[in-house]
């Protein structure tokens, strides 16, 4: 575990360390504080184009840090309506602000109920041993 890892109660989590937050009829997606800490300095985030379809549990992009590259997995199915273009020039936002300025996708989901299949903060804390 990492001391002081932030796991906000209002979010849902995947086993691969993405978070999802319902915002009206749209779901916002990013990676967790635990994930950014494990990766180290993020240097590049490759995201799909708006309009692309993502599927629950399938890859939607790649995140590269100084020493590794990891796939990003979608917490739910739907259409990407917006991506965080700030990450092109400032990938470090993922390290500095994983739950806010470092968000990655806004997805319009056809079944927001999929969120209920994800972990809540208690389960995720247990998952990462926090």
């Amino acid at each position: 575990m990492t001391r002081g890892t932030s796991v906000p109660d209002e979010l849902r989590y995947t086993a691969e360390h993405e978070w999802a937050r319902l915002d009206g009829d749209v779901v916002v997606v990013g990676i967790t504080d635990f994930a950014q800490d494990q990766l180290g300095d993020v240097v590049f985030v490759q995201l799909p184009k708006p309009g692309a379809r993502v599927e629950i549990g399938a890859e939607f992009g790649v995140i590269e840090s100084v020493k590794s590259a990891s796939d990003l997995f979608s917490p739910l199915s739907g259409e990407v309506i917006e991506v965080n273009t700030s990450l092109d020039e400032q990938p470090e936002l993922v390290n500095d602000s994983p739950y806010d300025a470092g968000w990655m996708l806004r997805i319009r989901s056809e079944s927001p109920a999929q969120l209920d299949t994800l972990m809540d903060s208690t389960a995720y804390r247990r998952h990462i041993g926090a």
Binding site: Q46, V62, S68
Partner: protein, 451 residues
């Protein structure tokens, strides 16, 4: 510990278990016709005898340079300054491998960085990698880059791209099952023309692959095809001849997105099977799709200049099966020769070489075109290669030229069956006026004497 894999006793025991008389019987299931014949190489020779025998065999070769040669088609004989060989034979560069803590090999990384900088300067592109295996695999890697970057799986290929490169492309990208459309090259009104390239472009096209000069030597205005490709969101991959860039517009200024070439012409001797070197450069926004190693310049903690391997997260030792490529061998030692050659010539030297090649080729084409029964079918302007058509097949023409002590051009028949009477001829700065005169006289003689 014995390093003998098998003793005679073990062999006999295994054969006994199998009930076979000898190991050869294991191959009885194969038809006789596909089995290798018995190898009879005689008893061992002393070193002195072996050297003598090999010298005898070597004397049966006709080395390039000993007779006039007009063979090019992707592998070119140019003058190589002696300093290139001297630099390449420095033992410090004797391994092509960067260690897994690459920063301890500052010299190797600096050569890679300088090589990349030269390739960028040559092609007017923003980024280059530290080389790939050869020109053909550079082309195939460029096609894969375009497919990844656009998310499309259709390739539109000019039939005037080197046919061997197109063969490698088919093999290399085959597993991705792209839909490959190749334009036709035909002779019309006495000249080679290409049909159906721009028409084949559509919104599923990942890239359009063109050659400048074409395989037939022609220099074209690429503007229409570049504009048509970009209009449908396809990338443009340009195969270039690096020697030509002393005098021609570089790919980056023609609007190409990825530029690839065989680098052999830049200081590497001709040799059957290589090793050669593939040059790859592209626009900055494609850098994360660029396969292979990239060296970068950096500063250490004390602010001193140093070199690193950069963007390694694209590479196979980190990304494993999701690397941009798992087959893109860098030819670091060969690229050292290219780096030395380009640094020794400089822009002025490369321009002189380009002009000399071009002038000699024009002289040869003008002289040949004046022979009744011979037509130059490559449209002008061309760089240092051009195709001629005679009443003979190219293979017959070459046979008769060789009888007269001349190595003729590249026979287009095997790659373009409808162009079996067309030969591709090449001149470089090493082609003397006397060699051209000898060719002209011989062709005149051969054509006149043929029925």
């Amino acid at each position: 510990m014995s390093f003998v894999p098998l003793t005679e006793a073990e062999r006999t025991e295994m054969l006994g278990t199998l009930g076979l008389a000898d190991a050869g019987a294991l191959f009885d299931v194969l038809p006789e016709s596909i089995r290798f014949p018995a190898i009879d190489i005689g008893p061992a020779l002393t070193e002195m005898e072996a050297v003598s025998q090999l010298e005898g065999l070597a004397a049966r070769n006709t080395p390039l340079g000993s007779v006039p040669s007009f063979l090019g088609a992707g592998a070119y004989r140019h003058f190589i300054p002696s300093a290139v060989g001297a630099i390449m034979s420095r033992s410090e560069y004797g391994t092509s491998y960067t260690p897994y803590q690459p920063e301890v090999s500052q010299g190797t990384l600096q050569v890679m960085f300088e090589f990349q900088s030269l390739v960028c300067a040559l092609t007017a592109m923003e980024v280059a990698n530290a080389s790939v295996y050869d020109g053909a695999s550079a082309l195939a890697e460029a096609a894969l880059m375009a497919m990844r970057s656009t998310g499309r799986d259709r390739l539109v290929v000019s039939g005037a791209v080197h046919p061997h490169y197109r063969g490698v492309l088919d093999t290399y990208v085959g597993a991705k099952q792209p839909d490959i459309t190749t334009s036709d090259v035909i002779v019309e009104d006495g000249v080679l023309v290409e049909r159906g390239l721009i028409e084949a472009l559509d919104e599923q096209t990942a890239c359009c692959i063109v050659s400048q000069p074409t395989f037939f030597g022609e220099i074209r205005d690429l503007t229409p095809v570049v504009e048509a490709a970009h209009r449908v969101g396809a990338l443009v991959v340009e195969v270039y001849n690096p020697t030509s860039l002393g005098i021609l517009k570089p790919p980056g200024e023609s609007g190409a997105d990825i530029a690839v070439a065989e680098g052999q012409a830049l200081g590497i001797p001709l040799s059957y099977g290589g090793p050669y070197v593939g040059l790859m450069s592209c626009r900055r926004e494609l850098v994360r799709q660029l396969p292979g190693r990239i060296a970068g310049e950096a500063r250490d903690a004390q602010g001193r200049r140093g070199f690193v391997l950069t963007l390694q997260a694209r590479e196979q030792h980190i990304r494993r099966e999701k690397a941009t490529s798992n087959i893109c061998t860098s030819q670091t030692w060969i690229s050292l020769g290219v780096t030395a050659y380009l640094a020794l010539l400089g822009p002025e030297g490369l321009r002189s070489v380009g002009n000399a090649c071009h002038e000699t080729a024009r002289y040869a084409a003008d002289r040949l075109a004046a022979i009744p029964g011979v037509a130059v079918v490559t449209p002008r302007p061309f760089f240092h290669e051009f195709a001629i058509r005679t009443l003979l097949s190219a293979s017959e023409l070459n046979r008769r030229l060789l009888e007269r002590g001349i190595i003729g051009g590249f026979d287009l028949g095997p790659s373009y069956p409808h162009l079996a009477d067309v030969s591709l001829l090449c001149c470089t700065e090493l082609t003397s006026p006397a060699a051209v005169d000898a060719l002209v006289e011989s062709v005149r003689d051969v054509v006149r004497s043929s029925p």
